[in-house]
Symmetry: C2
Subunit: 341 residues, 2 copies
DNA sequence: AACTCACCCGAAAACGTTTTCGTGTTGAAA
DNA sequence: TTTCAACACGAAAACGTTTTCGGGTGAGTT
């Protein structure tokens, strides 16, 4: 077992100074060709690679990005990480992933853990609990220390920083409008509780779309799910008790659950009930019937977030107080759960 | 914007030495209560937190684990990361994630990038290309440098290190046996090309199960998918041309694709064709009909791998040459794609 | 012979910690 | 008064780099 070799060891072995070794390896013209080649040969032989930690300490840069997300076993977040990782790698950055598990405390702990020098900047999406508490002190603190933060998807207006989002409101309007255009009138909404920012925006979109088409809003057709684990009962109840011909669900899980419930009681899709979901994940694609969804390009979102963060990290001028919010376009992926005209 | 405060700054401000500050914060009895309290109060006021990078350099420990996996937009791998992250966090470790994208080169680059001091140890699953090339020099090199590696799922016998796997062979046998027990005779296999270690083992299990039940093996019923992107055509072809009554698929994707193909040509599931998949993911659960699968507990696998790695990192004795291979048990989750007896 | 100037290299500081060891001061015991 | 231990603190090394600056050597110029 040969441990990693350091500059010091090479210097000692070749009987030169550490500085000479360092300069030789960097092809400095200060060093004679003789010495330079000798050192380089030796370094190659012993497979010398500079120690990243030492470099980080010296440069005050870790070339590492921290990602904090609510969960990873979730298609959308996984795609975002993938997008981040890709762009980060291209620019020589690594990615540290921390999961908040939708918990405020874990989010805070993770941020503090990473903020002490481990990373150069954050990319994050808020946990549900944080959104509910509206307590963002951990984030402002980090920003105040001069560490850039890019928020995506679940963001908040209470924090000034770069953001990457989709137009949840507009996307929802378009989805519901599509249903209306296809002739549906009794359109139900399956959504989350209001403190989830994206859920709220999508709900508003649903309402706007109905209003602008002069369709009366029926509160009985709006289902706000509190307990995701047991959403199936609530959804079944909705379908059984209300006369509806279409469903707009704010995420994949609600959409697929609605479909399973409908199939269970013998309804045909899309003939009896049409369904549009949100977030184009693996479920929508492989469900039978496959589900029409508003596609949210996670890869693109993650890539964009990473680009924004790296740009900020590598720009000389501290371009403070000049934050951007990028809106990633969505599009409706039409599949089997909605009828073709 | 107040930058992070260091020991040096505190020392200067309070007109004591750096050592005094450091010791005070560690409650060293060497320091008088007066000074101690004064320093602690000041540190708290300025929210002092030791710099992780400096600590890493000093301690030669980063408290960070590197994970290298083929892809993250994949339910199984996401669950493994989740498991790793969980256990890692409990022990004060962070997790750096790198994706090989099934590419040998990216795997090598990522490993080298992380091996230079950024992490304390690796948890990894081989990329397809690496398994095909059988070139593991990057891994042996890392191990030779004294950095522990834990491999999971896609492992190789050519490397001596800790491993976490499931018994792919046995699990496949059990799955196929279940089909046989339920009365199916013409059981097709949809699998990967042989160089994917787990695919090969599952294929062998299928063959063994048939043999031990004296069922003749029909090569026409065995489909080895090369191009995953276009597996649907091959699978449709299989179902259309062969007379089969059940399918054993070595992953979720193949299973759900088989189901969609079967439904498309009007076959009923499980009445006309029963299906068992492998890897209990979100697709199997939410597919209609839902899919019976061999459940591979990714969380448990990741957790176990993290535990093994951390144990090795924190054990004093370099317990070299004494590697363990943990086998995580699987179980069959019976759903709608197989008939109840 | 004195001076200049490349050329080549080493010493040392710096990044932020921890820890060992040394040292000055104080009080009490001899 | 001397001696010695306990006490309180500081200096410095160490981790592995990079980089600035200064200095020694030799050759070439006046």
């Amino acid at each position: 077992m040969k441990r990693k070799v350091t500059l010091k060891q090479i210097a000692k072995e070749l009987d030169v100074s550490i500085s000479t070794v360092s300069k030789s390896l960097k092809d400095s013209p200060e060093i004679s060709e003789d010495t330079r080649l000798k050192v380089q040969a030796f370094a190659k032989l012993y497979n010398y690679k500079p120690n990243n930690i030492a470099l980080s300490l010296k440069n005050k840069k870790t070339k590492t990005i921290g990602i904090i997300i609510p969960e990873i076993v979730h298609h959308f977040f996984a795609t975002v990480i993938s997008g981040v990782e890709n762009v980060a790698n291209e620019h020589g950055y690594n990615v540290i992933v921390c999961l908040s598990d939708e918990s405020f405390d874990k989010e805070v702990i993770n941020m503090e853990m990473l903020a002490n020098g481990s990373i150069d900047g954050f990319i994050m999406s808020l946990s549900k609990e944080t959104q509910q508490k509206k307590d963002f002190h951990h984030i402002t603190e980090v920003i105040n220390q001069g560490m850039p933060v890019v928020m995506f998807d679940r963001v908040t207006n209470d924090i000034l920083c770069d953001k990457v989002i989709i137009d949840d409101n507009l996307s929802a309007i378009q989805a519901v409008q599509t249903l209306i255009d296809k002739g549906f009138k009794k359109i139900a909404l399956i959504t989350t509780v209001d403190y989830v920012s994206v859920g709220k925006l999508r709900t508003e979109g649903y309402l706007k779309a109905l209003k602008s088409n002069d369709i009366k809003i029926d509160e009985n057709l709006i289902l706000k799910i509190e307990d995701i684990e047991h959403c199936d009962e609530a959804i079944e109840n909705l379908i059984n008790t209300q006369k509806i011909d279409a469903i707009f669900a704010v995420n994949e899980l609600f959409a697929v659950t609605a479909i399973k419930s409908a199939l269970k009681i013998g309804l045909r899709i899309p003939e009896d009930i049409a369904v549009i979901g949100f977030t184009d994940g693996i479920i929508s694609k492989y469900s039978s019937p496959s589900i029409t969804t508003v596609s949210q390009n996670g890869i693109k979102m993650g890539g964009k977030a990473a680009k924004m963060l790296i740009d900020r990290l590598e720009s000389e001028e501290e371009d403070d107080e000049h934050y951007r919010t990028e809106v990633i376009e969505t599009h409706l992926v039409e599949r089997e759960s909605t009828p073709t005209l």
